[in-house]
Amino acid sequence: MPRVISMEGDLMESSTIETNELTKDFINKRGIIRRESRTTRALDQVKLQIKEHEIFGLIGESGSGKTTLGLALLKLMDVDSGQIIFNGNNIMKYTGRQLFGFREKTQMIFQDPYSSLNPVISVYKSIVTPLRVFHKELKEEEVLNKAIETIEMVGLTPAEQFLNKFPNQLSGGQRQRIGIARAVINNPDFIIADEPVSMLDVSLRADILNILLDLKRKFGKSMMFISHDIAVTQYVSDRIAVMHLGQLVEVAKSDRIINNPMHPYTKSLIDSIPVPDPKKKWNLDESKGQISEYVNEGKNECSYANKCPFVMDNCRKERPKFREVEKDHLVACYLYE
């Protein structure tokens, strides 16, 4: 087994979850008479390590495989090959009781607070269901206390007022807080937040982001924060990984990704972010190229080769390996070899 690249020289014991060469293909069959199949590689040898007490940001365009990676990490979707190691154990073969135990320790916060809560189930019931599933021994009173404590933790006070409400009586921001409360009630080690603020109004986003930061600071949770909004990701994350068509192209500390992006794709991504400053009007130079649509068909090449302005012969012959170009700054690009 190839050794996982360590970010700070220390070995696996400090990581909550790590993956090794994770690969997943989606096969799209079409045609009735002449069967054709097209393979889309959603995850292409993804290798990453999320440490304890860390918020790990994952950014990339839509269709780059961010959500697939999130689902795969929590074993909500099977992968074709590769390994996932959670708290030092390989979870790939987990079934039955082992999987049940894993489920208690991992949770997910979903994107859409309007559809992820059951409209006919009260807040209290929504929140305590995961608790009841994993802790059958708890008494009614203990469950209630735990629910109140958790609701207050996500900033809904007084908690008693919210217990018997239904989702339609809550605003988007409040619903998302309930979604977070439900995810943290079992005290999980690892949480995936999949675009948790993209459906919320700008004025409500900040509070949700601060709650996520509190979960890390006060309760020491590890988290993967998936988003396509780079400014938001930078605000909460310690490190950021950039994904392009199923391949991770760059991993580094948040401020390094923003201030010193190295991979050509990261550069174009950072360059496109609108900045709230009218002095920085965009120049209308369109040399950045036309929109072109490519999918990762599983060839052994760099996923960005078709769009990259610096493309070389090498890029199509073999996909570039992750290299530590500077300390804690990993880039998969031949420009830095």
């Binding site: 986003r205 496109s272 929109i291």
Partner: protein, 323 residues
């Protein structure tokens, strides 16, 4: 109003009349659009920005009802009130004078028609001749940054960014004077968003059209707009040149909104705005922002603030300013 004004909205109010309640979606909004200008309209969801845009084209349907005000369009044939136009006049006005890229542009193409047929339809309807149309489709697609191959495609064969470009091509196909983009890039990722917006801004310069840009993303507006209108609870809270709005925001709502966005450059901790926007179906006494405002005082509770000038061309609806 100046000579270069092309559209003028005067004291416009729109209600949604439901059986049990009336929602005041837009109340007493006035704004001018000048030739060749980019106007940004920002606001949270439910602030009335899309409703406002719909009235520019008189697209509002039941239960929406125009309570008052007018939308004056200064066309080549003199001025006319859009809200009083007859269906025949509207047919000529829409697409040819003012066109719109819709919020759900990804889904606003007909799934069973080829792109060239959809574009051809619009042009033939607006008086282009059959032989002209063919050439024009190619030209428009090329303007929007697409290749000719797209002509024969069906919408499902195109990606989100390409569909959005087809919509831009469609919206521009009859040489409109004003283009309204309602959350046109919200569903796209930043790289594609930038490509589409640079394309739009370039077309604006080349064809000298005005652009009304509606979005909830205040940073985006900073990058592209000349003038910004910040909407809150159906009213304009602040309006002015974009430099001023971002460098010296006056209305507490604008300030709070800017403070709630994480910035890439400065290390600052973001702060959300407490509370939620008011329920527009209830009578709002005083300033609509009073429950979430940090600088609230007695006057805010009883008296509705009017838009007052803070500096040349910069207006804010807040009791803190102007007497």
């Amino acid at each position: 109003m100046t000579t270069s004004t092309i559209m003028e909205v005067v004291d416009l109010s729109v209600d949604y009349v439901l059986p049990d309640r009336t929602i005041k979606a837009v109340s007493h909004v006035s704004l001018d659009v000048n030739k060749g200008e980019v106007i940004g309209i920002v606001g949270e969801s439910g602030s009335g920005k899309s409703t406002l845009a719909m009235t520019f084209l008189k697209l509002l349907e039941y239960p929406g009802k125009i309570k008052g005000g007018k939308v004056v369009y200064y066309g080549s044939e003199g001025k006319s009130d859009v809200l009083k136009m007859k269906p025949s006049a509207l047919r000529k006005y829409r697409w040819k004078e003012v066109s719109m890229i819709f919020q759900s542009a990804m889904n606003s193409l007909n799934p069973v028609m080829r792109i060239e047929d959809q574009m051809g339809d619009v042009m033939v309807e607006h008086g282009y001749k059959e032989d002209e149309v063919d050439e024009r489709i190619d030209y428009m697609l090329q303007l929007a940054g697409l290749t000719k191959n797209v002509r024969k495609s069906f919408p499902h064969e195109l990606s989100g960014g390409m569909k959005q470009r087809v919509n831009i091509a469609l919206a521009l196909s009859c040489d409109p004077k004003i283009l309204i983009a309602d959350e046109a890039t919200t569903a796209l990722d930043v790289v594609v968003q930038r490509q589409i917006l640079t394309r739009l801004l370039k077309l604006k310069d080349d064809l000298s059209i005005s652009l009304i840009f509606i979005t909830h993303d205040i940073s985006l507006v900073a990058n592209i707009a000349d003038k910004v209108n910040v909407m809150y609870a159906g009213k304009i809270a602040e309006s002015g040149p974009s430099n001023e709005i971002f460098d010296s925001p006056q209305h507490p709502y604008t300030k709070a909104l800017l403070a709630s966005i994480p910035s890439l450059e400065q290390e600052k901790s973001v702060k959300g705005i407490r509370g939620t926007p008011p329920d527009l179906s209830e009578e709002i006494k005083g300033c609509p922002f009073k429950d979430r405002c940090d600088s609230v005082f007695d006057r805010c509770k009883n008296e509705v603030p009017e838009l007052k000038m803070v500096s040349q061309g910069h207006y804010a609806a807040c009791h803190l300013y102007g007497r």
